[in-house]
Subunit: 553 residues, 2 copies
């Protein structure tokens, strides 16, 4: 392989005379423990207790873990899996594995057992680090694929559990190991982390992040107009560390010297509230579902989070009602968008200087968009004829991106690579508009768009409108085959606890807010909407379940 990052045809010019220092995860680790040794990392455990370490102690444990990996014979380039919640031990893997030149494979704990087995086989992980509370899920994966029993399993935490094959204890392995390590110099283009996308169709696809892309992503997300992480922030990442690097926070937060508060396995609203309140968390990040639950908890209990300054919402579009409610609770909502293939940050919403005097309503509408593009990505939006769309906030097309932290292909999946990567661009599959000020808005996933009689209907817009109804907790809109219009929208709705709603009333309410031909042909009431491993609506399931709903329409 070559370490060059410049095409062979590049202009060479006069060689610059700056130091040759690679952009590696090790740089972040060294900077953090050298400059912020007293900063804290807190992890809430399954039993409600917490661990509390300084960066200096964390650094010593990372070195111990590196010795463990070396002893277990992990070679540069080999894959090591994690199957874990957001914890300090998981963070230690985020550093020790890449810093010895190996690859951390963050495995999604919410996949079906067959999928867990698939991704572990696909990555060819030799060691699997498993949280104590997730051992039962790992047993199911092994049952689905008995050859997994040949792997080495290292269990993190001391909760009682049925032993795994070849099981080692994380703490026992670390115990007594030297607290420093002779770190190798790693090529900046070497892989650091592997993450499978949360597939809504087909097998999960793997993205292989390099050291360089991880560091550049950390740099660009520390910007004042992105996450604006400061050393004095206390950060609670709700977005899982198995979900595209927890949006980069394990690297960005440590590089910035911020205090980290990990929720561990307790992700219910009360546990999250307690973790945030006890450690004066100022910044958090997660998908809308979590914030919906936390909002309901705060409203129901009358509790507040005065230290919580701002939160990033991404993964799915933020429902406007949620945005308003959180702002009313004194929490600044930052809307963001990204994809696994983008490390993930693509856009983060901030207020542009040109819009200083924008009226409040227009400002709110703009803040609900996904935002201007980060310096990490170059972008274009193409219509069905591959022509760039007008940047007017109305015209829509598919978003294509490229950049320092964008994948150029999937790992060992030529078919998916050929489908998604074209002419040096990643074709996101997202249908978007971009307004004159550069604010991007996701209109839909291309496969989630509903085409009724040749005209597009946005499921996202219908969902957001429905979720503004006072009785509606969640809504998911999907396309169903229709004899006349080919496809028509159907809405699945989850009502708030104790609420009673009926289709006629909700349809009437909706009729005042959207075009008549956008009105869903049916509204079905569910107890819960099926979700992907990272909490996104699993529309495929609904489409299959209700495939014949409009058959006699």
């Amino acid at each position: 392989m070559t370490t060059s990052t410049t095409p062979a045809t590049a202009v060479q010019g006069l060689p610059g005379l700056m130091m040759d220092i690679p952009l590696t995860v090790h740089f972040i680790l060294e900077h953090a423990i050298r400059n912020h040794p007293r900063r804290e990392i807190v992890t809430r455990r399954y039993d409600g207790s917490s661990t509390r370490f300084t960066y200096a102690e964390f650094g010593a444990r990372v070195a111990q873990l590196a010795h463990v990996l070396a002893e277990l014979g992990i070679a540069p380039g080999e894959r090591v899996a994690s199957f874990a919640w957001n914890t300090q031990a998981h963070l230690e893997l985020y550093y020790a594995v890449p810093c010895i030149g190996a690859v951390l494979h963050t495995t999604n704990i919410r996949l079906f057992p067959e999928q867990v087995a698939f991704v572990l086989e696909h990555a060819d992980d030799r060691i699997i680090f498993v949280d104590d509370t997730l051992v039962p899920a790992m047993h199911k994966a092994i049952a689905a694929k008995p050859s997994l029993a040949e792997k080495i399993f290292v269990v993190m935490g001391n909760a009682p559990h049925e032993p795994l094959p070849n099981e080692r204890s994380y703490e026992a392995l670390l115990s007594g190991k030297p607290e420093t390590y002779a770190w190798p110099t790693v090529d900046e283009n070497a892989a650091a982390v592997m993450c499978h996308t949360s597939a809504t169709t087909g097998d999960p696809k793997a993205v292989l992040f390099s050291h360089r892309s991880q560091v550049l992503h950390a740099f660009a997300t520390a910007f004042a107009d992105v996450f604006a992480l400061r050393q004095r922030d206390a950060i609670l990442p709700i977005v899982p560390m198995f979900h595209v690097n927890a949006w980069g926070l394990p690297y960005t937060a440590i590089m910035c010297g911020s205090k980290l508060v990990f929720p561990g396995p307790r992700m219910d609203p009360e546990s999250l509230y307690t973790a945030m309140a006890e450690d004066s968390v100022t910044f958090s990040a997660g998908v809308p579902t979590v914030w919906l639950a936390l909002r309901d908890y705060l409203k129901a209990t009358g509790k507040s989070l005065p230290a919580l300054d701002r939160i990033v919402i991404g993964g799915s579009a933020c429902p406007p009602a949620l945005f308003d409610d959180l702002q009313a609770l004194g929490i600044e909502v930052i809307h963001a968008w990204g994809m696994t293939e983008m490390s993930p940050i693509g856009t983060v919403n901030y207020k542009k200087g040109e819009l200083t005097n924008e009226p409040a309503a227009a400002r709110r509408a703009r803040r609900l968009k996904q935002g201007p593009f980060s310096a990490l990505v170059q972008w274009k939006v193409l219509d069905d004829d591959d022509t760039p769309i007008a940047q007017d906030g109305i015209a829509r097309g598919e978003l294509w991106v490229r950049g320092f932290a964008v994948a150029r292909q999937y790992y060992k999946n030529d078919e998916a690579t050929a489908a998604a990567f074209k002419d040096g661009w990643f074709t996101t599959g997202d249908i978007v508009t971009v307004d004159a000020e550069g604010y991007m808005e996701i209109v839909d996933r291309s496969k989630d768009l509903i085409k009724s009689g040749g005209e597009w209907i946005s499921s996202v817009e219908l969902e957001n409108t429905l979720m503004g109804h006072p009785l509606v907790r969640e809504a998911c809109v999907f396309g169903v085959k229709h004899a006349k219009w080919l496809e028509r929208p159907v809405a699945a709705v989850v009502l708030r606890a104790d609420a009673v709603g009926d289709e006629v009333a909700i349809r009437a309410w909706l009729g005042e807010r959207v075009a008549k031909w956008w009105l869903p042909d049916r509204i079905v009431f569910l107890d819960a909407i099926p979700r992907t491993g990272v909490g996104k609506f699993l529309k495929r399931d609904l489409r299959e379940r209700y495939a014949d709903l409009l058959a006699d329409a």
Copy 2:
């Protein structure tokens, strides 16, 4: 040359699968004009009028300039000099020259004519872009070195002037050129900008910044805990663009999409005030001297700058009295430190989370230090025995640094390179302390320390104390040969306008504030303190002028 940034012995691991996109100045340009086309760039002209362009128009002019450079036959790697104030035309050079693969040589307009001639010869610039108001200074350089008359001179601006040899007009050259350019892909390790240090001893030494180092420097200075530049900021760089990239602002500000307000040649306090007030400047940066003058102007006129949120002070230590005065005027002062060899940012002062409850006096004392180290630099501080000092805020030693944006050698100067670069580190020549929280404080330049009877006396500390005296405007302390103590401190003092002071009174005042043996043996009163081209005290001159002052002591 190789484009690799990784030593040959590096661990290669598994190749990452991210896009290969070089870190070049062109990336910043494209991002800015694509995402912030309506943002403004304002330049104040010599006659008090202003020009006002959008980023989109700026981008078109950069393309036109690239066509001009190509027409004039500038090849990749060739040097092109600027001799200019902070203006949009200068900014156009900052982009067009590196983006075609050539090297912009930002020449210090405050050097003596012989030094100007020296640096132009040393860089071997083929074209020299000169501000209209600086043509007389260029004539002097040509008089000092007649061979310079063979260069091509391009004059920017329309102020009347005596023609230079082979003179072209900047605007005439640009006029009618195409507004797009087929930019080449440039190697990220190729040189982008050359800058000579403002030498206080010997000939100026040249640092050759690469595209990669400029982009990484822009990334790291956009952090919330560094300059925290936001798109909605309006930035007035007072620090000159011929002085180590104006601390990177030409790249960082444009990457962040901020409004830029250039002061042009009018750097008096009233002109700076007017420029800041008329365009609601929120952020500025410059050396203490400028802020001293602006503070005096604001106090004398009773005017205020309500939009001005924060300023960065660097280049020399910020006198505590100036810090207090500016804070009292509602302007947040951010103390920073850097060097030409470091692109330049090394430290920027911010409040650490561990210090939330620090009492006000301790907080103020810490804010007056140069601050914690940026993620851009690795550092160590060595005492006379090359042993790392204790990190206690008391022990002092010489600061050594390395990093992504630190030079590895000077351009064509083996002697200076051998003296300053050791074992992969740049030896800064600064004597510093670092406290337990990582806040660095410059105690002195190693050559400015005064050694009295074997004990060190800090000239910086004496200067800061003197500048706290109500009658003292500026103070510069230097060492003078002494028969008994080998060296003793002497203070040169500039009083405030209309103030009357005498040596006895000031010595008595000082005696209450510093150790007795630190008291300067003499205080001499001057109308002005001699300065280097970038406004730093030129202690060498004072040492020479007063070399025999204590001869009969």
